[in-house]
Amino acid sequence: MRLLIIEDDRESADYLAKAFREVGHVADLASDGEEGLSMADSGDYDVLVIDRMLPKRDGLSVIGTLREKGNRTPALILSALGQVDDRIKGLRAGGDDYLPKPYAFAELLARVEVLSRRHGGPAEDTLYRVGDLELDRLSHRVTRGKEELTLQPREFRLLEYLMKHAGQVVTRTMLLENVWDYHFDPQTNVIDVHISRLRSKIDKGFDRPLLHTIRGAGYMIRDGIR
């Protein structure tokens, strides 16, 4: 995956680039809004990671200009500003995702990978399959092997989201945002409880677990070891 990181703080930018390269991505750096805009405009990137506040041209304006030109490269906004209003502003300006600073790299990585997959990925399938687990989005049926599983509506949506991003790490905040549409940090392990319920339904009694906990990051559904 080719990434463009537009971030004026040299140290954070270098850290991000290094971290992305370590997990096998290509990361370019731009240190101000103008440079970032011209690089994003000319280069062929899969995802843009854009700081909200940049010298010369702020992040939202960079995204807005790109969108005006018809450039639809997914953009993730990093911001040190407050959450509620700022996130909405960022998304309205044409951003695809929003992450408040400070953030965990695992969270950023998971979101960037989801964004890159969303862009140019195949149209949404009606049937998701991971190993012998199948989820039919039209009939709302979930089966594992020959066994039909009974899920609550929310468990179904949770599984649907996990399977849509099968093989990718999804974080707790991503789940809370996308499955429940809440944008705050719960002080409790409320998501873990939902996951463990789901896990007991889809993995219990089967010899090969599909729903994995990724330490320090979140969860991933996948068949075996990649």
Binding site: G82, Q83, V84, D85, I88, P100, P102, A104, R154, W180, Y182, H183, F184, D185, P186, Q187, T188, N189, V190, V193, H194, R197, G216
Partner: protein, 482 residues
């Protein structure tokens, strides 16, 4: 700047000067018009008098000849306020009349002439001004009939004097008025300026003096005072936040640092370091959460987060959170129930959700904590989420059957970082209730903490969306009590 310098710089004084100039111009032009008109009228009158006298004399001349004319002129010259008369021979010798010297050549003209002259019988040699009509008689003699212009001059003089005086009076009164008004305004502005400079020096508790007259300056002062109150409130909030950050974030930061130091000093090999680093990340995540919560509270309290207001049903929020927290509560041995009736309100849905989530998390935390203490385990301890409309308020409440909060501590419980004695052993940042309280305040509502005997009922009471009262049930067919 001198006092006078300041005075003439006041708006009131400058306005006075402008008005003054306008009035003076107005008075002058009015009087000028009057003077010009009067002059014209007087001239017309003189012309008419002279004309009638002139034709009279011409008549006498044609009927009775030169002798008759001379006689008539001698006669008329003696009357009081007589016109001016002069009859001269073709060579310029005066024959009759009351006019002495005339500028040379005057008599050679025909018709109307305005000229200087000297009176024959008077001692003063000062020249007077006259309007005269001259004509040549049939025998070559010349006749002059005219009238002194003294009168016209006098009237003009009177008008000019009146103009001078009135302009002078206007200027003096205007200046005095301007100074009076300017000084009055200046005194009050000076008082305001003095107060504002004290405020700028840092004393935010100062307020501007407000008079009783309710005029524009009072209104301004009143508005500025209210602005100051708001600023002071915000500053206090900011100061509290920074104090709290300094005080309460330093503790976990110190812990973080100590742990890292300890790991560096004592750990051997990778597993030790790994464990220490993982702990460090966990601890800093906690710090970030605390920090976010603090920022959120500060923003909610300063009224900044009110931008994304929408209409929504509080019942849906309650049901959504019930759905989210139900498994967690069950794991903790609690029953989480929801009773929600449609209750529309206008506000920031995310903030209200978060506030209610905090209340639910608190209830689960303390309800769970109290579970083993209950004497009668007949029914499992319960947490109830309710949403309903009561009067003009929407009530979102969470009731637990935990230990509750003693009456005396309830007010304190919503302050930042306050963690009541009983809860010290529980994890948490101590910000949940203060965020809920800030969100309620942002929506012009309040957070109520009540005794639910046993347990605590925390209620967000927020003004309901007006116009949605009796018809609430039917207007939202998709919502139904659970």
């Amino acid at each position: 700047m001198t006092a006078f310098g300041k005075l003439i710089r006041t708006t009131a004084f400058r306005l006075t000067l402008v008005y003054l100039l306008l009035f003076a111009l107005f008075a002058a032009s009015l009087l000028g018009f009057f003077a010009w008109n009067t002059r014209r009228m007087v001239t017309e009158q003189i012309t008419a008098t002279v004309n009638s006298d002139f034709s009279d004399l011409n008549d006498i001349f044609s009927r009775r000849g030169l002798r008759g004319l001379v006689f008539a002129i001698e006669n008329r010259s003696l009357r009081p306020g007589a016109n001016l008369y002069l009859v001269v021979t073709p060579t310029g010798q005066a024959v009759a009349g009351n006019v002495g010297a005339l500028p040379p050549g005057t008599l050679n003209t025909n018709g109307w002439v305005e000229t200087a002259y000297q009176r024959l019988e008077e001692q003063d040699k000062a020249p007077h001004l006259a309007l005269v009509r001259i004509t040549e008689l049939s025998n070559g003699f010349r006749l002059l009939v005219g009238r002194d212009l003294e009168e016209r001059h006098r009237i003009f003089g009177i008008v000019a004097a009146a103009a001078q005086w009135s302009v002078l009076v206007v200027v003096v009164l205007g200046l005095a008025g301007g100074i009076f008004v300017g000084r009055r305004v200046l005194r009050r502005i000076d008082a305001m300026t003095a107060t504002t400079s004290r405020i700028m020096e840092g004393d935010l508790s100062e307020r501007l003096p407000v008079g009783r007259s309710g005029d524009e300056l009072d209104r301004l002062a009143d508005n500025l005072n209210r602005m100051l109150e708001r600023i002071e409130g915000l500053m206090t909030g900011l100061k509290e936040v920074s104090d709290n950050i300094a005080h309460d974030l330093k503790t976990p930061l110190t812990r973080l640092r100590n742990r890292a130091e300890e790991a560096l000093a004592t750990s051997r090999g990778e597993p030790g370091y790994r464990a220490a680093l993982e702990q460090t990340i966990e601890e800093s995540d906690g710090l970030i959460r605390t920090f976010n919560a603090l920022l959120m509270i500060a923003r909610a309290e300063s009224g900044q987060a009110g931008g994304n207001a929408e209409d929504f049903d509080a019942a849906e929020v309650a049901r959504g959170l019930h759905e989210l927290y139900e498994p967690l509560a069950e794991d903790d041995g609690l029953t989480l129930r929801v009773e929600a009736k449609p209750a529309l309100l206008h506000g920031n849905r995310e903030l209200i959700s978060q506030a209610l989530a905090n209340l639910v998390e608190n209830a689960i935390k303390y309800g769970k904590a109290s579970a083993p203490l209950l004497e009668t385990p007949a029914r499992p301890p319960e947490v109830l989420i309710e949403a309903r409309r009561e009067g003009d308020k929407v009530l979102l409440s969470v009731t637990d059957s935990g230990p509750g909060i003693p009456e005396a501590d309830r007010k304190r419980a919503t302050e930042r970082f306050v963690r009541l004695e009983a809860s010290r052993s529980q994890p948490g940042s101590g910000l949940g209730l203060s965020l809920a309280s800030a969100v309620a305040t942002l929506h012009r509502g309040e957070l109520r903490l009540e005794d639910a005997a046993p347990g605590l009922r925390a209620t967000l009471a927020i003004p309901a969306l007006s116009g949605e009262g009796l018809s609430g049930q039917s207007s939202h067919p998709e919502t139904h009590p659970v």
